[in-house]
């Protein structure tokens, strides 16, 4: 089975975010980056499927030159090779244009299965996988918690709301968006890290792929959300703050 896993590099989860002076995006000069968490689970699922059924895992990443770090980590964990759509200004691409870029790279690969995370931790549209499936003419399912290969296709467990699930069967090739927690993530081994250095990373540009930036939507203003509720922050040492909290819960909120 040839599996392509789409991965994205996003700012680290504990980043302190500041809006840039123009109010168009965040100040990203000093941020550290990591793989988008649901994409890490998608990669792990791809690696486990390959270990079970054989084949190849290719990591596909659209991002700036700095995304090479995240690609190396995917290779160190076990991806066989990678495609890097190197583009510094992905902000000029709306979700459809970005998916067109990725679809152009994917078409040449002819994968049996395409995996993505269910959404990104930065933009959070939760759409890239589904748009890609439509552009590539593939059947798809989203928010997947289990993947099983069966005769001529796959059977997947789709997460619904309020603790419900549904099994769905479909033929291959197909596209799945993977939910966090589907599997247990592995760490890269020392050997893996060493091997990653020799693995192929093919760099592609938007021009080579024949897709340009396009935006049917515009970010007018990026800003810190205003607090809708007035939170009383209790100051002092842990002991002082705790004493104040107990007092408040007892006599103000009256919930103790």
């Amino acid at each position: 089975m040839k599996i392509v896993v789409c991965i994205k590099q996003v700012s680290s989860r504990d980043s302190v975010l500041r809006v840039n002076a123009a109010g168009t995006w965040i100040q990203d000069a000093d941020l550290t980056y990591e793989i988008n968490e649901p994409d890490a689970y998608a990669l792990e699922e791809g690696l486990q499927l390959k270990e079970k059924h054989g084949g190849e895992v290719v990591a596909l990443c659209a991002g700036p030159a700095g995304a090479a770090q995240t690609i190396r980590e995917a290779l160190a964990k076990g991806a066989d090779r990678a495609l890097h759509i190197e583009e510094e200004n992905l902000g000029a691409y709306d979700p459809l244009a970005l998916a067109r870029l990725m679809a152009a790279a994917l078409r040449a690969e002819k994968p049996d299965l395409v995996l993505t995370g269910l959404q990104s931790d930065d933009l959070g549209y939760g759409q890239s996988g589904v748009i890609l499936a439509q552009l590539l003419g593939l059947p798809h399912a989203t928010i997947i918690m289990q993947v099983e290969k069966q005769n001529g296709g796959i059977r997947v467990k789709r997460e619904l709301e309020d603790g419900w699930f549904q099994n769905v069967e479909m033929p291959l090739p197909a596209l799945l968006t993977i939910q966090s927690g589907i599997n247990k993530l592995r760490y890269a081994t020392l050997m893996g890290i060493k091997k990653a250095k020799t693995k192929e990373v093919k760099r592609l540009t938007a021009a080579e792929l024949g897709v340009g930036p396009a935006a049917a939507i515009r970010f007018e203003r990026v800003y810190l959300p205003e607090r809708s509720k007035h939170t009383q922050i209790l100051e002092g040492s842990p002991k002082e703050a705790s004493a104040k909290l107990v007092e408040k819960l007892k006599f103000e909120a009256r919930v103790l």
């Binding site: 549209y125 049917a216 939170t231 922050i233 842990p238 819960l249 007892k250």
Partner: protein, 325 residues
């Protein structure tokens, strides 16, 4: 030109977010001076359509076909593509449900449009809507404007609009039968199921202590366990904790877990991603303990302590014991 709200039902029962979406559509309709229409999709939806016909709408579409009995992304996309071609709406609104996440981006793409997903608010400026979305797990907001051609597609986040604001009225029902073929539906949906009989009913708890990523490792769970015991509370968690197996899935609060509204909810080391907030923001009193003063959890909290949970929680347990006497 109109606003079309595409509502969600399963087996004849409304998804609760359908009414919130209808409220959003009516609000936008009033502000943009455009008529509002609503559609419900399924095998036989006449009862649901009749219910909609008592709302302030210009028209109700009952989109019916045997191949729409069970949801499939192919079936829904094909049916709604045909409805949109016939109805020619200027804007299409959806509830941001798991099902909508599964097909709405496909539908928008089929029509070469971009869906603005998970909208939390809007305003009208210069006769055009501006939608507010959250970025970075709720840490940043963005105002988004459509600059391409209509129809504009947007999905509305749970709780962003009030279902009780839906205005009553009367509307005609149109039955819309799309052309669908079995061969065009490539996925085969099987039965719905739940993993386990829920041994833990968090919805009945009066006090909940909920723990998130800030707890760092499984070995630290007893620290919050002690707090739960001191308060006589149920212990719950945000998704990552259950994903890691540190607490069972049945203790998860959030969009994929349980929705709770206890009289007291203590969020410990939980940053407050929207998937968690939708499951607990209805709680009467919310306390947040987090080291990051900018964490979105403080937006819904009544009381907050900014600090290291490993110091704050034991101190709080001590104070609670002291208060008990």
């Amino acid at each position: 030109m109109s606003i079309l709200a595409i509502l969600e039902q399963r087996a004849g029962a409304w998804h609760r977010m359908s009414w919130e979406t209808l409220a959003a559509a009516q609000q936008l309709g009033a502000e943009l001076q455009q008529p509002v229409r609503a559609a419900v999709v399924g095998d036989e939806v006449s009862a649901l359509a009749a219910e909609l016909s008592a709302k302030q709408l210009e028209r109700v579409y009952a989109v019916e076909h045997q191949l729409l009995t069970n949801y499939t992304p192919d079936g829904y996309t094909a049916a709604l593509e045909q409805l949109i071609a016939a109805a020619q709406p200027r804007m299409v609104l959806f509830p941001h449900t798991y099902q909508v996440r599964d097909f709405a981006p496909k539908l928008a793409t089929a029509l070469e449009r971009v869906l603005v997903s998970d909208v939390v608010a809007h305003r009208v400026e210069g006769g055009e809507p501006v939608f507010v979305r959250q970025l970075f797990q709720g840490k940043i907001n963005v105002d988004v404007r459509f600059v391409g051609d209509p129809p504009y597609f947007a999905s509305v986040q749970a709780g962003a609009y009030r279902a009780d604001k839906v205005a009553a009225g009367s509307a005609l029902v149109d039955r819309f039968v799309p052309e669908l073929t079995p061969a065009a539906i490539r996925t085969k949906p099987l039965e719905l199921f739940r993993e386990s009989q829920r041994a833990v009913d968090l919805t009945a708890a009066e006090i909940i202590v909920s723990v998130g990523r800030g707890i760092k490792e499984a070995e630290n769970i007893p620290i919050v366990q002690k707090l739960a015991e001191a308060l006589g509370a149920e212990l719950a968690a945000s998704r990552p904790i259950c994903d890691n197996g540190w607490l069972p899935m049945e203790r998860q609060v959030g969009s994929s877990g349980q929705t709770v509204s206890p009289k007291l909810y203590l969020a410990v080391g939980i940053s407050g991603a929207i998937q968690h907030l939708v499951g607990m923001k209805g709680s009467k009193t919310i306390v947040a303990i987090n080291k990051d003063a900018e964490a979105p959890i403080f937006e819904v909290a009544d009381y907050g302590i900014v600090g290291d949970l490993f110091q704050v929680v034991p101190a709080l347990v001590e104070e609670l014991e002291k208060a008990k006497g």
